[in-house]
Amino acid sequence: MTDLGHVAIRHLELEQFRAHVALTLDVPPAGLRIHGPNGSGKTTILEAIQLLSTTRPRRGALDNDLIHHESGRDLGLQPYARVVGVFDRAGAVARVEAFIQRGVRGNTARKTLKVGERARRAADVVGLIPTVSFAPDDLELVLGTPSIRRRFLDVLLSQTDKQYLRCLGKYAKILAQRNGLLRRVDALGPTADQFVFWDEQLVALGSYLVAARVRAVARLAECAAARFELLAPGIGEFQLAYVSTLDAPAPWWRALVNEPNDTFDAAQRVGVMFERRLRESGVQERARGMTVVGPHRDDISVALGGRELARFGSRGQQRVAVIAVKLAEIDVISSTTSLRPIFLIDDVLSELDMHRRRALLQAVAAEQCQLLVTSTEAELLEDPALTHTGELELG
């Protein structure tokens, strides 16, 4: 834990960003506690920082949704939104800007990203300012659908592995095309040679995703188990494991974590397995008109002492599990990027009892992460761990 670079937002500017027509904010090094009624734009402030960190709006939102609908009108411009963040990053200052403008036609929006004064592609911005976000969605990590856990991994890995980010975007496109082909399978439908390209790409890209996830979950599991033990001592070992539709025996997966030098080597091995499983599932996928094996169907299992937490755990244990996973996310990002991520807590404190709330805030403070936290109730933000943070009240 030595020599970690500090990352903190120092200054934030929102212009025509959702409901904020113009907002300028200085953030103290320790962070900021933000309170105000629903709809006052608390979440939006965190979303703006997340946008600069991951280049994406929060889950379920589109770039277009970020634009204040009346913006630009008085200037005769297409509606737009702008976010500028000035960050401390490992001793240097980094200025990151996102500018989104609605297209002339339909629901399109164009996003321009800048670091300093230079335009950058999304892949070069992601990972620059690492963040860990704890939002109401995350409370579903244990009980929710596999897609929530996959997305959690995708967000984490996109910040720590550029190759992952590239493969992820391309995999989705290849998958959609391959499923398109599968839907057209009938007597006169596509012949085997039409699958060659899509199969090869699916396997090459998907293998990288699976290999990266397996290795990340192994690291995450270790950290999360330690975190869980600190939060709830002596009630059993907390276990996370990657569950893949590629369906190989456990020792094979363990070897994948321990042996290969890097993710590319691991991906080569996964590729062999993926190819075989793809062949085996041919009948099933043609019947269902979709690709049934691959990282888009995988999951993470969450267990306590060998028993599935979603089915056998108490609500309290499930909450502790979510906190442990979120704190473990700090550990994984710190160890892979050598940077302390900014921690964003959006509106979840009211879902935790006082004991767990305090444990979460103390753990984040102990990591010396900058912490921005929102709540509708100001009193939930009165915690010793937040003493040095600034306060912002929105009306």
């Binding site: 036609r105 339909g106 592609r121 892949a123 190759q163 590239r166 493969c167 975007g169 391309k170 496109k173 290849i174 959609a176 095309q177 391959r178 499923n179 398109g180 082909l181 839907r183 057209r184 596509p190 040679d193 039409q194 060659v196 390209f197 899509w198 090869e200 790409q201 090459a204 890209l205 293998s207 990288y208 590319f264 991906a267 080569q268 590729g271």
Partner: protein, 202 residues
């Protein structure tokens, strides 16, 4: 758009027709229609004639499937072109862009699209069968697969290469694509690292 009783039949007919054009939604279609309604008779006629002329005088070259007013097209007939190379492109505009560079002296073959199963475009919807017949007939030394540098373009190039290689035809694919509005995002994705090495070779 349902024709309503408030709208004259010719108006809703034109709105429907314009609405079928790529990139034009119902809103734009209405706007264009009402614009034309107010426009001078001369302007409306000029547009109608331009469309008619396009359909009557321009057709596809039966050899290279580029757009032409004569068949075969001027380029296919040009004795100074290098007949040992055929460059395969997606659209007539791609051939035009390549011509503008002045670097290429061979022949073209226009596919009129790229393989995209999601959109229901398979090899049979493109001029691929015609390309294979042409290659058998003309036996060029090399076929350059200059489809767009995106997933669909890659899929198309790969599919064609797999047909040509057993026929003993050398195929190649420009590494960075054409100087034709190829999407920037892709330019860096092409280097997918070691995981894809070997798979990309045609």
């Amino acid at each position: 758009m349902r024709p309503s009783k408030l709208t004259a039949e010719p108006v809703s007919r034109l709105v429907d027709e314009l609405g079928r054009l790529p990139g034009i939604g119902p809103k734009s279609a209405s706007r264009l229609t009402y614009y034309l309604l107010r426009a001078s008779r001369e302007q409306a006629l000029a547009l109608a004639e331009a469309i008619l002329e396009l359909k009557e005088r321009v057709f596809l070259c039966s050899t290279c499937f580029n757009i032409t007013e004569t068949d075969p097209c001027a380029l296919c007939l040009d004795p100074t072109r290098d007949r040992s190379i055929i460059c395969v492109v997606e659209e007539p505009l791609d051939a035009l862009a390549l011509e503008r560079t002045g670097e290429y002296r061979g022949l073209y073959h226009v596919l009129h699209g790229a393989i995209s199963p999601v959109d229901g475009i398979g090899p049979d919807k493109l001029r691929i069968r015609e390309l294979l017949e042409r290659v058998e007939r003309e036996r060029p030394q090399e076929v350059i697969l200059a489809t767009n540098p995106n997933i669909e373009g890659d899929a198309t190039a790969m599919y064609i290469a797999r047909q040509l290689i057993p026929r003993g035809i050398t195929t190649s694919r420009p590494a960075s694509g054409l100087p034709v509005g190829g999407d920037l995002e892709y330019a860096d994705e092409i280097t997918l690292g070691r995981a894809l090495v070997g798979r990309r070779a045609l």
